[in-house]
Symmetry: C2
Subunit: 418 residues, 2 copies
């Protein structure tokens, strides 16, 4: 195996530098998709990649491709990347570490004057988080043909559905509505490094997680319709308070997550509350919620429990609850050849590694539908907390992942003999 | 008793006309304080009052005073009025019926060429509802010296605390930041007609409610601090989900309201949820809540139950809950002379009437601290539902209230002999 160890110090320095764009008081990062801060981070990425000799292309949904040409430009590129957007008050690693590791792979190849047979494209996908605009992994889904470009460009900000910008307007504002067609081409393969975002690897003291696939997840909006009324004169006995009913549903969802073993997850993190003022009993609440499990049959039972919980809330509170599924993902099985390559690479480099499933969605999930895709996790510290300003990985954690990534990219791209 | 029956048809016609400003699809009214619609309703009120020969004054918080001069301009005026703003998707009666009944009193006196000793001022108070800007009864509180003008002008929109307008800016936009000093003068007395907004009067088939006083109410913000984290990889067992904890608190608040007899009320109608996105376990939720009862000792127990509920939620969910009281009102006892006058007037006119307490705050509450104040309720139909598009009173209900109001105003203002 050729020695192409990355420069871990350079990688860390630039990861910290790009993390200053949107940096928060507690050392995290607040950089919502297509915000001014996202634009600045994209600008810095493009500057770095041009300095590294790459050609930049931006497509119609704002995905950025930095291409290092191969000996044979006709070969489909080896793609490697992740995202630069964060959740509100998030960390400096989620997504960003994957982009910076890919940047470091290119720089390392440059340092060692290694030419590859196939081109390498470092990718920044638009709006992976789905915090400002729904759905998550928007850019990679459009690229993979799972969402229509026009529909996504028209999506409006979730937090301000009346006055907020559309995706198209937000792209225009930061200058990243590109002219390249979105998708319509198959990469040779796709690699993504990501932080784990959970506590599993720490239990085994693993340095590298080989992501073999994903949990299964189903996403819903539960609309609770009660009766808006005055908080004062309305007797308790005649109320149909949609928020009280929604609160019961949220507790039930939490219970469902806990009732199905360590692999159960159930979430209700997002509400739209009407009218949400101090003097009025809420008449309508929309609860975004989801259930997740690694086992398909168990997930079906959790889904059934959710339906029953909605019916119970209807009976107890005299409201109506409409449950509408708006998305799903998984179970994904990543390409076996890619999994084997990443596992063998980690072993050859002497890293403690283990197989792992992702519970969260990642850009590698849509990519896996159009080309062989593979993911590695590097270690998350602080108990694996993520989507939090305290999210943390050590310099050595990120460098280990980048080293595996470099070897695997090279194996797939092919080295041109000196 | 002089016959000064109001023109019920004219009163109803103009009540319906002003209700078209901000009218909703279901026949309600959406006219938030100091919105463009509120401005248009104010314009219409001012035009009507000028046509009725009144002089318009607007003070620094936007309260409007339409003065019908008395024989003795030096006498303190008899004030009578209410508010023109509504809650989101509210009705056409709450507040508005009180303003229109006062308009009709002046028109009736004009029709019959009745001069009064004291001036009469028909008042529109700014932001009674407190939906867009906190607190409720803002204009009447500043007038009564209970809030500072500068502090209230600086209050920003509750629903958009970052980008929203201040009260001062919103007043400027609709042209109702007046030049008259706010308050600093004592009315001779204050009358307010309001719809009941509850089911009590219907039980006794009462046409007029004589409001002798109010419930006691205490208002809080409960801040629940958990730990923001990723919805996917974070195991259920290690979560500190602030929204799950807040949901438990909301159910407890509802339980407290039901556990203290028919006069118990406990509400939690308004939330601020952070970050309120689909991929992140909420780290912080602020819940506006209140407890109300007619009995002071019982209210104290409800307050104690709320404190204990907050402590229980802390223990069960591993979060912190900080309970901060931001307001209170009552128990109010309206001026006994005003109560007796209104009761005797209703009886003399042959209306079925009963004494009643208000559970909600009204502009008469701050006014009662600076002059004798009295309130009457007219009947609410549709089960007494209010703060809802279905809020309804019949033409005869409003006319009955206006007849009582006309007699009582005349009794206090004094008739100049022909």
């Amino acid at each position: 195996m050729r020695n192409i160890a990355v420069d871990g110090e350079r990688l860390w320095r630039d990861l910290m530098e790009i993390g200053r764009i949107g940096e928060t008081a507690k050392g995290g990062c607040h950089r919502l998709a297509l915000s001014a801060e996202d634009g600045h981070a994209r600008d810095l990425f493009c500057r770095w990649m041009r300095e590294a000799g790459c050609t930049i292309t931006v497509d119609g949904i704002g995905n950025i491709f930095a291409r290092r040409e191969g000996r044979d430009p006709a070969r489909p590129p080896v793609m490697v990347g992740s995202h630069l957007d964060t959740v509100p008050l998030g960390g400096k690693f989620d997504g960003i570490a994957g982009v910076l590791a890919a940047v470091e792979v290119v720089r390392t190849l440059n340092d060692r004057a290694i030419r590859t047979e196939a081109p390498i494209e470092v990718v920044v996908w638009t709006n992976e988080e789905g915090s400002r605009f729904s759905p998550f992994t928007m850019g990679s889904q459009v690229f993979a043909g799972q969402q229509s470009l026009d529909a996504m460009l028209a999506r409006r900000e979730l937090l301000d559905p009346e006055r907020g910008a559309t995706v198209g307007e937000a792209l225009d504002r930061i200058g990243y509505r590109g002219t390249a067609p979105v998708g319509g081409r198959k990469p040779g393969c796709y690699f993504e490094l990501h932080i784990e975002q959970g506590p599993e690897m720490a239990r085994d003291d693993a340095e590298i997680g080989i992501v073999t696939g994903s949990f299964e997840a189903r996403y819903f909006v539960a609309t609770v319709e009660g009766e808006q009324a005055h908080v004062g004169p309305t007797p308790m006995a005649v109320r149909h308070d949609a928020l009280v009913a929604a609160s019961r549903l949220i507790l039930e969802i939490d219970r469902i997550g806990r009732a199905h073993g360590v692999d159960g997850r159930a979430n209700a993190p997002h509400l739209e509350l009407h009218p949400n003022v101090r003097g009025v009993i809420p008449g309508r609440v929309m609860v975004s919620c989801d259930v997740r499990h690694r086992d398909h049959a168990t997930l079906g039972r959790m889904h059934g429990d959710l339906v029953m919980a909605a019916q119970m809330v209807e009976r107890v509170h005299g409201v109506t609850v409409t449950l509408e599924q708006y998305g799903e993902f998984g179970p994904v099985a990543f390409d076996p050849g890619m999994v084997a390559l990443l596992r063998d690479t980690a072993a050859s480099l002497g890293y403690r590694h283990r197989d792992i499933l992702t519970v969260a969605g990642h850009d590698a999930v849509p990519l896996n539908t159009i080309c062989p895709a593979g993911m590695i996790f590097c270690a998350s510290r602080a108990g694996g907390i993520s989507h939090n300003e305290r999210e943390w990985s050590e310099p050595a954690d990120v460098a280990a992942g980048a080293n595996v990534l470099a070897q695997a990219v090279l194996a797939r791209a092919g080295v041109v003999p000196d």
